[in-house]
Symmetry: C2
């Protein structure tokens, strides 16, 4: 049992994502093939069943990544050999395994744009493909959209609470595995953060990388003064000095005395309101009015709102754990459901999990000033007032949309936030958003027995 | 702003993980170099500051992955060019950038074994390396250990609550990004789950893959009866049929009538206690005593304990969202702190975040029957009663330990759970575990001013 082996990284190559899926997708794929449904045209829709606690809207995010992965999705020779050997598949004929060699996604994907504010019950992504291909995408699609949407939604609240002060993503170490930090840097930036501490995300995405120093830097020198000076000798006026390693206000005094004057100090513990007020006063008295105050340490939208409400002279916030884990709402009930097969509506009646039949469209209705009034869900091709939100991204397995840059998604997210009714923008809202289903859709749902 | 571009996958190659770190690690690395501390021997320790809510112990997990990644860690040419262009590094001489080409981790890593039950305040990993190299690992180490430990700890509770009934990992779609599912499959399996729905994890790790069918399978046929029959035609006695798509008990009756008799039914919604009792009765009356009942649908340890306590005849549980996100405790306050530099103890006094100086060891003290009594934290080389838990894994950048197989880690985790005092095994424990610091360690801490 204890024989030695090379340590396994468990960081697969992208080419191996074709089996990053639930087994039942493959079981069903083989089953559709055997049952003669392998070419049946299926429409699946992805939506959020219910908003998580403490959320009155979501910011949709993660589309670009999953589109890139879907376009490259395949199953390798080695993976096919593994499947052939599984006891589950012993009765499956060799034809199905052979067909996996050339399996690529050849269907259509429609989607809401990233950065759009969205609500429970509305279809965010629509996949039209052969039943097996549509099934194949399910797990990857959900895993790739669930989390960025969760983080972008949390970040949007945090950025709003900061009222124009900068918010940095400091979460990399607390994410659910090292990969989540990549997704979170992007999702939090598109929702309004102004930078990330995660260097590789910053590099790949063109996000401003942000960083100060850790306590270990201070601890590595004989005194705090030596540590500050050594850092400033390197980084000059760009320096941000961490002042709370030993005694915070003493640290502030030392940071205020350093030459040249530094860009900022960072306070990472203690009573941030009290300490920031005293720090501001020390800095101002030392002719350091230009030196900014950065706060960090388990911050979230509520603590930031409280600090700003109480007049804390904090210029920017580094937010880690609470944002990267969306700690007060760490899961999103995003699902992917069959709604149409060969042109006929499909439903499900499971308790608390009913779904509406047929391919759909969201029509967003706004008032004259652009504020969102309601979403009307219609059949896909139905005429309606309001702007349709689902647009074609992939057709027959090829990208047909011009994907926006991250900067333009960020700009879109900002304008979307501003178009929310004020009642949905408060941190602890009881207000809920109106989603209507068109008469045609309701009639079809009733006809099929959805109450 | 809207110019078209190829969609970015944001799934980096393993060779690019060298910058999957916080910017301040690099800032400090360059700073140590400039300040003449580039070769200073530093000891960092990784520990959990405080147990999360609802946890009385943790199951340590994730070591093998991070060791594999550390051994391969490097910084690519392209990444170095990116750093050279960052405004932050404008004053840094070219020598430091040049040195990054050959940067590899050449230090030592000591660690507790995976599967070991651990507590707040005790050092779980010790890194001894040059200050810059030790700093370089911080973010990756925390991101790689935090999450698997969180999931293994949650899974351990869920498995305990199931009292010997099987628990499957069904979480892939709800993880924080598609990569987290790999880590979670492994962490939940080592903590006692009996399989995972995630095929690629199963393939890479040798975990049993598990799967049934989705509602979409049922919806794809003209009737539930047709759907059941088509599946059984493929998978025969191995079939597990999902019975709650339309009307659950009617679904059970239909599943009970299928030939050949099937392995199991799955109920995914509704009142699981009531439905499982009625389903059992229907199955038994139909001469289907061998057909098992699998339950799923937002389960966690509390719901499982309640179901079993109330006598629900459920044979196994599929657990998704709550386990893969560790939803009631989605973050772990795992930190990595400098404790020694060039043989001298280092401390930090930040409010609520004090650390003990010097390289340390955990000595675990057990009673005659093997039950854990307490952990004594000592200086690294201090003699003490109890079994030392930190063992050398990497020396001078090379693997020196024989890493256990996943099966033997799982066996170790089981025996560890059984060695917990009963007071720590209840789901809602108020009991806490005793960690003692040796006299020598306390004296040194006092000498350096840690209260």
């Amino acid at each position: 049992m204890n024989k030695s082996h090379e340590p396994l990284s468990l960081w697969p190559d992208r080419r191996e994502l074709g089996l990053a899926t639930d087994l039942y997708q493959l079981t069903m794929m083989a089953g559709y093939h055997a049952a003669g449904l392998g070419e049946s045209r299926a429409t699946f829709e992805l939506f959020v069943r219910k908003l998580p606690n403490h959320r009155s809207y979501l910011v949709f995010a993660g589309l670009e990544q999953v589109i890139a992965d879907i376009l490259a999705l395949q199953i390798t020779e080695e993976q096919i050999e593994y499947l052939r050997r599984l006891p589950q598949f012993q009765a499956i004929g060799s034809g199905w395994f052979d067909s996996l060699h050339s399996l690529r996604f050849q269907g259509d994907v429609w989607s809401v744009a990233e950065g759009t504010v969205v609500f429970a019950g509305a279809p965010l992504v629509r996949v039209v493909a052969s039943a097996p291909q549509a099934q194949w995408l399910e797990t990857l699609l959900l895993a790739s959209l669930n989390y960025p949407t969760l983080v972008a939604s949390k970040a949007s609240r945090i950025v709003a609470a900061a009222q124009g002060r900068g918010v940095f993503d400091f979460g990399a170490r607390r994410g659910h595995g090292p990969h989540s930090a990549f997704l979170a840097s992007r999702a939090s930036y598109l929702a309004g953060c102004i930078g990330t501490s995660h260097v590789e995300s910053a590099r790949l995405l063109g996000i401003p990388p942000i960083g100060t120093m850790a306590h270990s830097w201070i601890q590595s020198f004989e005194s705090e003064v030596d540590a500050f000076q050594a850092f400033v000798d390197c980084y000059g006026e760009r320096s941000t000095l961490l002042v709370d390693t030993y005694e915070t206000l003493e640290g502030v005094r030392r940071a205020a005395a350093v030459e040249p004057p530094i860009r900022a100090i960072r306070i990472d513990s203690g009573n941030l309101l009290d300490l920031s007020i005293r720090a501001r006063s020390i800095l101002d008295s030392a002719d350091r009015a230009q030196t900014r105050i950065v706060a960090s340490g388990d911050l979230d939208e509520y603590r930031i709102a409280d600090l700003i409400g109480a007049g804390a002279p904090i210029d920017s916030f580094g937010v880690g754990t609470q944002m990267i884990t969306s700690a007060d709402a760490p899961a999103l009930s995003m699902v992917y459901k069959l709604v149409e097969l060969e042109g006929k509506g499909r439903i499900k009646l499971s308790e608390g999990k009913k779904t509406y039949p047929l391919a759909k469209q969201i029509h967003r209705v706004r008032d004259a000033s652009g504020i969102i009034i309601k979403d009307i869900i219609t059949q896909a091709d139905e005429q309606s007032i309001g702007e349709p939100l689902l647009e074609p991204i992939v057709r027959n397995g090829r990208l047909v949309a011009s994907l926006p840059t991250l900067e333009s998604i960020r700009e879109h997210a900002r304008s979307e936030y501003e178009s929310l009714p004020v009642s949905l923008r408060t941190l602890d809202t009881e207000a809920s958003f109106t989603i209507e289903y068109s008469d045609l859709l309701q009639a079809e749902a009733r006809r099929l027995g959805v109450c």
